[in-house]
Symmetry: C2
Subunit: 282 residues, 2 copies
């Protein structure tokens, strides 16, 4: 595994792979890797000849009051985990190279960034899209893998790739969960022991909704009410940010479920903001 820190080197590596007719798989991450990330890397390996993983805590996607300064970083552990997966390149770009003086170009995917997390994190997806496009320019991946836990992020990136006609196929990796159902996330490290235990109820709430769906329920407000009640009862210290049912493609709110939707939840528990989702596909 080669560690690359600058843009010229990653471009050179990418050009060499392409010249040899090899397919590049790419997994952009913010480090603090867990089994969720590793599953994305395995997916990338399955569909490409060479895999690059980037580790970059992207300041553009954090707002002033968010956890940029506290965001977990553990390069040594990340490298060890990636080494085991036998990938080709770990790309750890230098922020000063990514954001040269005068940097001011941003990429926005307007409609898909408005709802759900975008409502509460107004420049988050602009920050994500901007950095992902930059990374794509350097790595020129044939495929790139994103985790479905960040459902809105998946849609934003898919739409950007479609709108800009980029030569990269986006794959989604399914949500990887702890044994008790909690979706894996680097931010789970913020939870203390009792919060961690309580956090498992978020997935149980989604499972409850899935059950209702399988019984034939199609009205969004019924799901939202059921999930909210379950969370209020079982996670009394949780602060719900949103519970929404949205069209799986447009992410617009849906009143009655006629086609594939996503039920998405965001809540604060202690210092952690947890998000999770399930698809409801009639």
């Amino acid at each position: 595994m080669e560690a690359i820190q600058n843009i010229v080197e990653i471009k050179t590596w990418s050009a060499l792979c392409h010249r040899r007719g090899r397919r590049i798989g790419f997994v952009p991450t913010m480090g603090a890797l867990h089994e969720g990330h590793l599953s994305l890397v395995r997916l990338a390996k399955q569909f490409s000849d060479h895999v690059a993983v980037s580790i970059f805590v992207n300041p553009l996607q954090f707002s002033a009051q968010e956890d940029l300064a506290q965001y977990p970083q553990d390069l040594r552990s990340d490298f060890a985990l990636l080494e085991e997966l036998d990938i080709d390149v770990v790309f750890v770009p230098n922020p000063r190279e990514i954001f040269p003086p005068g940097f001011q170009t941003k990429v926005g995917v307007s409609e898909l960034s408005k709802n759900l997390c975008g409502k509460f994190r107004p420049h988050h997806f602009e920050g994500v899209a901007t950095i992902v496009l930059k990374l794509f320019h350097w790595v020129s991946p044939d495929i790139a893998v994103f985790g479905q836990k960040d459902y809105q992020q998946c849609r934003v990136i898919e739409q950007m790739v479609q709108d800009l006609h980029l030569d990269t196929s986006i794959l989604r990796g399914p949500i990887v969960r702890e044994k008790d159902g909690l979706a894996m996330s680097s931010r789970n490290r913020y939870l203390n022991e009792s919060e961690r235990e309580c956090a498992a109820h978020l997935y149980r709430a989604l499972t409850l909704a899935k059950h209702l769906f399988e019984q034939g329920e199609r009205q969004s407000d019924v799901f939202i009410h059921a999930v909210a009640s379950y969370i209020r009862e079982n996670m009394p210290s949780g602060q719900i940010q949103y519970i929404q049912i949205c069209d799986a493609l447009t992410l617009e709110d849906v009143v009655t479920i006629h086609k594939k939707c996503v039920l998405a939840v965001a809540l604060f528990l202690g210092k952690a903001r947890l998000i999770d989702n399930i698809e409801l596909d009639p």
Copy 2:
């Protein structure tokens, strides 16, 4: 000269050039070609092996009250002019392919888009940057040429290329003028005979400023006052939109000229909005 209308074909052409180690020169235009455009094409030819010119009236860079519907189009004349210059490809993309249903990704270069034309055309440069990035993705040019008449556009594109670390060098072509000094522009076709004659005074006003500069003047307000007075006196039907002296790199207003600046003017004359500029370099 090959005419290409779809994205797959232009990508294929570009990939073939690159595989053969040839340098692609690219001149994006909105058609209604005049000697100004042709000078850019000649510059592109000089610095590359194969030249592509795109013709696309980009709706994103017009606001609702602007002249999108009236913008001159004359593909037959454009093709004939390009044919004479012996370029390789004229790329006339299909708007439906450029803007597929659901299209919503925009690229903004924030600081450089704020002043000058950007103050009066709020989404103009976002529209320009978005379409230019898309074209760059398909054509993958080694060099791309833009006219210095659109000074702010040059800076926006240069900054975008720098911020996104694109592999395209931006060249600027100098302003090409009619015999009486009027900067060539597709929009000069909007001028009637007497307006056309009067329009030449815009360049005379800039020449006056250049003269003051050569005599040692460095105070922006002196230039602005002199240019405004000249225009009001000699172009009584002209409506000045702005006269500004800005730092040539940041495009921020400058009080005293210490380093390279641009004196830029925009005014309405009849149905035409004319822009022109000169650099003042101490």
